[in-house]
């Protein structure tokens, strides 16, 4: 049973705003990063998808931005409890990138410039659920928010939306990433409040 805090009433939001449990609304765009912000010029930027068989598919910045892109408007949820509604992005669907990739893998380990990693089931990257985003709010994505390009997987806690994305390694077995090895949940569904290992 929850302990009731005497005299605490909280600040309720209008009922038409549906937030995952334990989340509060923010109008800002907080920055959360484990280390210094990498700055990657687009002429050196590259995205590599490698398969379990060791096959590599590589896109340059020009390749990526030449692909059909989508505009995405979506809510995002950070495990540190803030949620931000109606964020606007532009990017290439992972469906487009994975179309030419032959794989039997069930898992993906996403890798970033700067060394960050995060894992997720491959199926969570498919079917219009994930993008390599390179625009935010009609502008380039700033370095502190993961520019020049970041993964966008809005249906999971935002630590899965790796900033400064550099590669996706397709794997037959799940391999926990940076925060997942530091006690955070392997999957991270905000609606099931999967914050930490064991949730």
């Amino acid at each position: 049973m929850a302990i009731v805090s005497p005299g605490f009433s909280g600040r309720r939001r209008s009922s038409d705003v549906q937030l995952p449990p334990g989340q509060y609304l923010t109008e800002d765009f907080p920055v959360l990063t484990a280390g210094p912000t990498p700055r990657v010029p687009t002429d050196r930027w590259e995205l590599t998808i490698s398969t379990e068989a060791g096959r590599k598919h590589v896109w340059s910045w020009q390749d990526l931005t030449g692909l059909p892109a989508e505009k995405i408007t979506t809510d995002i949820h950070c495990v540190t409890k803030w949620s931000k509604l109606g964020t606007r992005w532009k990017g290439v669907s992972l469906d487009v990138l994975l179309e030419e990739v032959e794989t039997a893998a069930d898992f993906a380990l996403v890798q970033s410039y700067g060394g960050y990693t995060t894992n997720l089931p491959l199926e969570d990257l498919l079917d219009g659920q994930a993008w390599i985003a390179y625009r935010y709010d009609d502008d380039d994505i700033t370095p502190e928010h993961g520019g020049p390009a970041r993964l966008l997987v809005p249906h999971l806690y935002f630590w899965k939306s790796a900033k400064w994305v550099r590669g996706i390694q397709l794997l037959l077995e799940d391999e926990p990433g940076f925060w997942e090895t530091a006690g955070y949940h392997d999957y991270g569904d905000p609606w099931r409040e999967q914050r930490y290992q064991g949730d």
Partner: protein
């Protein structure tokens, strides 16, 4: 749920306020008794949950400011004027009152006493909390790892744990404390300024000492300090950061 029950770590626990005292005009130290607390590493945080009588509840994360000490956990809470949780924690909670608390959480922004590398701590404002836990743990464990703290505050009145830091700077061998005032400096101190390359060059460690750097504070502050450390030649992988909003 089964895994949480097995590890016993991340269940919500009832925490009773043992003490609620002012640290500065806008921040308070809250000490909780948390029966069954499993202990923590300095730098880890907890989730605090408040529940209203009708079941509405909110959660926030706070860094732990204390070294591991039995069932006691200290948080340093800055009052955010329009905040939903911090004014309640600061101004309403009294000794004996209860909240729920879960943790410890976080395995990256932590200092381990077994690591012999020198440590640079850089704090901005309330960002001192997890770094204070490291300073206190170092003393608690009798560690001789050399520590340097560079602490940026607006005015002398904004220094958290001012008396304790003064005393530790005198008594904890191998701990250096350097304060940087951004708005108003005390008599005899250099004029107000922000932390710059020269500050971290003089009061930090040379990169070839391969120190562990922990930087905690508001986003703009952390971005600036981390950029300077990298520019000075520190390995980005040894610069750990925690940002407050």
């Amino acid at each position: 749920m089964a895994r949480a029950a097995v590890s016993g770590r991340l269940t919500w626990r009832v925490a009773s306020v043992a003490e609620n005292r002012a640290i500065t005009a806008s921040a308070r130290s809250l000490v909780f008794d948390v029966p069954g607390w499993p202990g923590h590493l300095p730098g880890q945080h907890v989730d605090v949950r408040l529940t209203a009588e009708d079941g509405y509840s909110v959660q926030r994360s706070y860094s732990i400011a204390s070294a591991a000490n039995g069932d006691r956990v200290e948080l340093a809470v800055q009052r955010v004027a329009d905040g939903e949780v911090s004014p309640y924690l600061c101004d309403v909670l009294n000794a004996g009152d209860q909240v729920e608390l879960r943790g410890p959480v976080g395995g990256w922004f932590v200092w381990r006493a077994t690591d012999p590398a020198p440590v640079l701590l850089v704090a901005g404002g309330s960002g001192i909390a997890p770094l204070m836990a490291m300073i206190r743990s170092r003393a608690e464990q009798g560690s001789r790892v050399p520590f340097r703290l560079v602490y940026s505050v607006r005015t002398p009145q904004d220094v958290y744990f001012a008396d304790e830091l003064r005393q530790r700077a005198r008594e904890d061998a191998g701990l250096d404390v350097h304060l940087v005032y951004t708005r108003e400096a005390p008599e005899g101190a250099p004029a107000p300024k922000r932390i710059g390359v020269a500050t971290l060059n003089t009061h930090g460690w040379p990169p070839d000492f391969t120190p562990n750097c922990f930087v905690c504070g508001p986003t703009g502050f952390v971005e600036a300090v981390a950029d300077i450390l990298v520019a000075l030649g520190h390995d980005p992988r040894r610069v750990r950061t925690e940002r407050f909003g």
